[in-house]
């Protein structure tokens, strides 16, 4: 890629000075090394230092730079600039309160994550060495533990938009199943009790937007299905 100009339409809102949010048309000239959307946004910041977004690792493991890119949630650092249509329309993740520009308030998202007790519960006296787990049992955690808490999934989910305070959402439920699936965890019943409610788990209607947007290729819908299976098996 040689030097080229990229057109953007970006959601801007600074509560310190703006009456209301607006969409800003702006373009930036990229250097040959600017391959990802994040590179382009950083180039933009050199021009306008008020352009606000979160970023850190720039390699898709920290989960900071999730945003709505041309209508679909994704990570700026894993999106190739030349793979998406221009003008590139950027909005904050949908459904969460906006703090400023592309920065959203993730309190509700993390509240739901915390609500599922995202930690291993094992009340046996810890052995001197590691607890044993077979490679097969460990494999059950693949596709679950890799979540980076970017919130792309939960903020693309209509059920979460509608009931962010009551529905745990795909990220939280993926984490819930990560502990249910861990042979070292002893809290299965309490974990299922915690989700046995018309909203917390059962507001998932398998719309699968979460699967479609997950930048790590994870499948929260499948994990949610497995929790539902466990509920049913427990009931009979």
């Amino acid at each position: 890629m040689t030097k080229c100009t990229v057109q953007f339409k970006i959601y801007r809102y600074d509560p310190d000075k703006d009456e209301a949010p607006y969409m800003q048309d702006i373009s930036v000239e990229l250097e040959a090394s600017d391959k990802k959307l994040l590179d382009a946004l950083i180039r933009l910041r050199a021009k306008d230092d008020s352009m606000s977004f979160r970023r850190s690792c720039r390699e898709g493991v920290c989960g900071s730079d999730a945003m709505n890119i041309n209508g679909k949630n994704g990570l700026a650092c894993l999106t190739d600039v030349d793979s998406i249509e221009q003008p590139i329309t950027l909005r904050p993740l949908p459904g969460l309160p906006v703090i400023r520009d592309l920065i959203v308030d993730m309190t509700q998202f993390f509240k739901q994550y915390h609500s599922i007790k995202p930690y291993l519960v094992n009340n046996d006296t810890p052995p001197e060495r590691e607890r044993l787990q077979s490679p097969e049992d460990r494999e059950e955690l693949n596709g679950l533990y890799e979540c980076i808490l970017c919130a792309c999934c939960s903020t693309s989910c209509p059920s979460f938009w509608w009931n962010p305070d009551k529905f745990v959402g795909p990220a939280g439920l993926l984490a819930a199943y990560r502990f249910l699936a861990d042979t070292r965890d002893q809290d299965t019943n309490a974990r299922l009790d915690n989700l046995e409610d018309p909203y917390r788990l059962f507001r998932c209607h398998s719309i699968m937007n979460c699967v479609d947007v997950c930048p790590k290729g994870l499948n929260p819908t499948r994990a949610i299905g497995k929790i539902k299976d466990m509920m049913v098996r427990r009931a009979v």
Binding site: K17, R45, S52, S56, C57, E59, R100, P118, L120, E128
Partner: protein, 597 residues
């Protein structure tokens, strides 16, 4: 400006591996603790560690902490302190097993134990052959570790202040540390965090270099704050260049790739490491491999149209192994190098990765400075752990997987020391000086009022280019001298940074300007310390200190077997002795020897 005051038993700055491990110790002991972090904890840079954490569990090959200690001392080119190294290697099994009990999803051996893989510089029987010592969760060990530590802190009800950026260290007239000032990103408000104990776990400053594996947040905030507050910085000339950053992008490719059998090749396909390290080959220490790669490129044997990189080849591994053990690496190679490593080799170059030096501490996590004739006198109320600290276990070159171990062992140790000092009544809440917040408020006022100033972006770029050119993998006397001059000029420009954005709400421009102040301290420390050290040792190799019969590898123990201490005020240098004596009688000192692999 109105400055709120909050009081705690302890304040921890940073919520990466070291900060979270220390926080657990304090929260579970019932101390009123605040953890300040400028990003949500799981976004800290520990998340990007890939290959593993060292512990001599011996799950797949025979192993013991004596061998680990020997490898670490040798890896450090004898600049590491042997008391701290013994402490770390002895504690390794305990902290890794604890992590497993917290729920960390380690990969498993067939008999259900923690999976371990070989790693660079780690050997059995004092250098004889590679050992399987790196405990791994696929190639996402840091991610799995950071999340497990955060989750355990959720269980322990640790109180986090998320997206709060610490600004300055507060010291009183006695030099004791009383806490920090910090700014809440969402409101721009400044608060004083007044505490009996302050633990820095703020990570490294790899962003001083142009080409870096580090996250944008790795701006050496704690190191910069400490330096501005008069604490010397130790051994800052020693920076690790990781052999395998993706060419062009800088993104890390774990050494675990070579641990699983990956091979480095030059343009003719030759496995060149056989010539440089006949014994451990591709698994020699990182400084050795990075220099070999740079030599290959400099002598015209680089790959690609511009002959500017070498190739990391795993095409001979089975796709199953790659998918199971290195799935994240495959994603990174496809995303950032445009190659599927199952089919084609990955273009790689040495890339700045890790800060061996930092805030001087002892093995208990206490910050120590020269005072009244004692070169290691603890600063009351001040502790540090992880990459921001220099214990010193890595000396002149860190072994892969020893960083995750460092942050577990010394995060825990710093936490334990604070709890002990608290219970013994040694820690007191000393009164805040009246001007406790003045330095921070003056910095913010200067930034807001600056006219005709310098762009943060431009000054930062100039700093990164200067560091890259003047203090890289190989160092040259004339370039270092010029570098000292140039970085001094950049530091002057950084005093006049100007931002257009004056909003109080989540002001990234302000944050980046404040971060640059911290980076500049680190860059100055690095250049000045490097220029002064007239020998080659570990990652610091210079043209005027070549390999001779008298000084093998250019190392000059007679004059330079000592730690550098750099003071920000006046760019002053001091030195202190390396501790060659282990902590206990369980082990003999590892005697000085020439380092070969």
């Amino acid at each position: 400006m109105n400055v709120a005051k909050r009081t705690f038993d302890a304040v921890i700055v940073g919520a990466g591996g070291a900060g979270l491990r220390a926080a657990l110790q304090l929260s579970e002991s019932g101390l009123k603790t605040a953890v300040l972090t400028k990003v949500f904890p799981t976004r800290s840079h520990t998340v990007a560690a890939q290959g593993g954490v060292a512990a001599s569990l011996g799950n797949s090959t025979e192993d013991n902490w004596h061998w680990h200690m020997y490898d670490t001392v040798k890896g450090s080119d004898w600049l590491g302190d042997q008391d701290a190294i013994e402490f770390m290697c002895k504690k390794a099994n305990e902290v890794v097993v604890e992590l497993e009990h917290y729920g960390m999803p380690f990969d498993r051996t067939d008999n259900g134990k923690i999976y371990q893989r070989p790693f660079g510089g780690h050997s059995m029987n004092y250098g004889q052959a590679p050992v399987m010592r790196s405990c791994a969760a696929a190639d996402r060990t840091g991610h799995a570790m950071l999340h497990a530590l955060y989750q355990r802190n959720v269980r322990a009800n640790t109180q986090f202040f998320v997206e709060w950026m610490a600004l300055d260290l507060i010291r009183d007239a006695d030099g004791d540390v009383l806490g920090v000032t910090a700014m809440e990103m969402e409101t721009g408000e400044v608060s004083i965090f007044h505490a009996k104990a302050t633990i820095f776990a703020t990570g490294g400053a790899g962003r001083i270099y142009y080409s870096s594996t580090n996250a944008f947040i790795n701006t050496g905030d704690g190191v910069g704050m400490a330096a501005r507050a008069g604490i010397p910085l130790e051994d800052m000339e020693f920076w690790q260049f990781h052999p395998t950053g993706v060419a062009g992008a800088g993104v890390l490719i774990t050494e675990g790739v070579r641990g699983e059998g990956g091979i480095l090749r030059n343009s003719s396909g030759e496995r060149f490491m056989e010539r440089y390290a006949p014994n451990l080959k591709d698994l020699a220490s990182r400084d050795v491999v990075s220099r070999a790669m740079t030599t290959e490129i400099n002598e015209g044997r680089g790959a690609g149209p511009d002959k500017d990189h070498v190739l990391l080849d795993i095409t001979h591994l089975s796709p199953d192994t790659i998918m199971k053990r290195l799935p994240g690496i495959r994603e990174i190679a496809i995303q950032f190098a445009g190659v599927d490593p199952i089919k084609a080799p990955i273009p790689v170059v040495p890339t700045c990765h890790y800060q061996m030096g930092g805030i001087p501490t002892n093995y208990k996590g206490q910050v120590v400075v020269p005072k009244d004739g004692n070169s290691n006198s603890p600063v009351a109320g001040f502790y540090a752990a992880g990459e921001c600290a220099c214990a010193s276990v890595h000396g002149a070159n860190r072994l892969g997987t020893n960083s995750l171990l460092d942050l577990l062992v010394f995060g825990k140790s710093a936490g334990e020391t604070v709890v002990e000092d608290f219970k013994s009544g040694q820690l007191k809440l000393k009164p805040l000086p009246a001007d406790a917040a003045d330095v921070s408020l003056a910095r913010l006022a200067r930034l807001d009022g600056q006219a005709n100033g310098e762009s943060v972006f431009d000054v930062g770029l100039e700093m990164r280019r200067t560091m890259q050119k003047h203090a890289g993998v190989f160092r040259f006397d004339n370039l270092l001298k010029e570098g000292v001059q140039k970085i001094g000029e950049v530091a002057e420009r950084a005093k006049r940074t100007q931002i257009a954005d004056k909003s109080k709400v989540w002001n990234v421009a302000r944050m980046e300007a404040l971060e640059l102040d911290n980076l500049i301290e680190v860059a100055r420390a690095t250049m000045v310390s490097a220029e002064a050290r007239k020998e080659s040792r570990g990652a610091h190799v210079r043209d005027d200190a070549p390999d001779t019969a008298e000084n093998p590898n250019g190392r000059d123990d007679e004059n330079w077997l000592k730690h550098t201490l750099w003071y920000s005020e006046g760019n002053r240098l001091d030195y202190k002795a390396v501790n060659l004596k282990p902590l206990s009688d369980d082990v003999e000192p590892i005697a000085l020897a020439t380092r070969t692999y």
